[in-house]
Subunit: 239 residues, 2 copies
DNA sequence: CGGCCGCTTGAATCAAGTCAACATTTGTGG
DNA sequence: CCACAAATGTTGACTTGATTCAAGCGGCCG
């Protein structure tokens, strides 16, 4: 009775209503857990997968690769996030899933997820809705990367992470762990690591944030929200 | 017996198997059609919607707005594309849906889509899969906007549109209508209209493309694919 | 026919990238 | 617990891709 899907069901319940029976159907799924070191690829692009990766501890990312070796991160996953629910309807990975820190991951079999979704239409809707939230975040990232300069990009990312961390009850919106290197942040923000450094320096100088090595403190949330033009509604978190 | 959902069902069948009965259930949905002029917002951000917009003719876009008036386009929709299937599980629009050209649109009631999805689990999977494809394109756009300079961005967009146009049987991969202004392309590519112009000029000078006003001809697809580092697998079109 | 919208081009400016050096932290084996 | 190596963070000087501003062109529509 370990219920490895517990954190995921709680994540779903933030945005979907599920009956006790529907929750239990998900919770009864067995999923082996593994631990991996930072930088390890949990899934490689092109790989045929028959399970989805649920983050239990640590931080993971979705990364698109380029022929000439570069990478770009297109999603961040916190504990409770299912990295690649996408692979249930589309079981060939189109991207890499990478451990950004040391992680503990549950491998949840597609067969079981799909069986529960087919049996309980509301579960199917909840999973679909979860995919929509992922798409909503991606759409926002497209607009921010496409139209905003570096300080706004970082500010937006910090606002988003604050909200998501708080929504997942992993910390406060104004103070949370950010265990990423500037190199990793650069791959998210679409700028160089050197520039990440300079932008952090600016936000610090303007007394918007403090960044102790692996933790961020937002000193003036209002101004940071305004700088980022941040409106959290796209995260679909309950009020 | 008009079957407004016909083009959408054909789009679904590119990536999902549906029984005759399942197809008929979708095809029997009635949907009023409307026509709108270019630049009209079919859906405004924050709007509560109880229908999804299916493009029948013309081209539409998803656009994220900024407080200071700017916009960024985060998706393009061709005839047969359902613009905001997202709104079935999440009925508050988080973005605008805009007509890029004059369009004919079917308003498909959520209630009916959801009823069919609840009755037929394979339809639910097909709709979910369609949302995954949208997310897959978004993820690709994030990586291209985040990491690639302007010529590569344009090249990638042209390759993607070629594939999608061909997949939808609306034209050929190397020659298709592109009825967008440079201003509209600028909002997609995350560069200024002036720069769009210069980049087109460069691709023309390198004999990669011809762009008659509202049509593109790809002269050297191989080189364009290589320039864009384009791999069509993310579109999940059948081989 | 005239006005407007979209396209085109040039010159000046600016944000971010590149390259390079150095400082600091982390991690590891002796 | 120290010593060293490797990884990460910091800063400066220079270059470059893209923006901005401005002007002129061309075709389409009322």
């Amino acid at each position: 009775m370990t219920q490895p899907l517990k954190p995921f069901v709680e994540r779903l319940l933030l945005r979907s209503e599920l009956s006790r029976e529907e929750q239990d159907a998900l919770l009864s799924i067995e999923a082996p857990t593994v631990t991996e070191r930072a930088r390890w690829d949990l899934v490689r692009p092109g790989q045929k997968v028959n399970y989805s990766c649920l983050v239990l501890e640590g931080m993971a990312a979705r990364a698109e690769g380029f022929a000439h070796g570069g990478r770009h991160t297109t999603a961040l996953f916190l504990p409770g996030d299912m990295c690649d629910l996408h692979s249930v309807p589309v079981p060939i990975a189109g991207w890499a899933i990478t451990a950004l820190t040391d992680v503990r991951i549950a491998h949840v079999p597609h067969r079981e997820i799909e069986a529960v979704a087919r049996r309980y239409p509301s579960v199917a809707m909840a999973l679909w809705r979860d995919t929509v939230v992922d798409g909503s975040i991606l759409s926002k990232w497209v607009s921010v990367l496409g139209s905003q300069p570096a300080p706004q990009r970082l500010a937006h990312l910090l606002c988003e992470l604050g909200c998501r961390v708080e929504g997942a009850k992993l910390g406060s919106r104004t103070r949370f762990a950010l265990p990423l290197t500037q190199e990793q942040l650069a791959e998210i923000l679409g700028i160089t690591a050197v520039h990440v450094n300079r932008v952090f320096k600016r936000l610090r100088a303007e007394r918007l944030i403090n960044d102790d090595p692996r933790e961020v403190e937002i000193l003036d949330l209002d101004r940071l929200l305004r700088l980022a033009d941040f409106d959290e509604s796209y995260l679909l978190l309950p009020r």
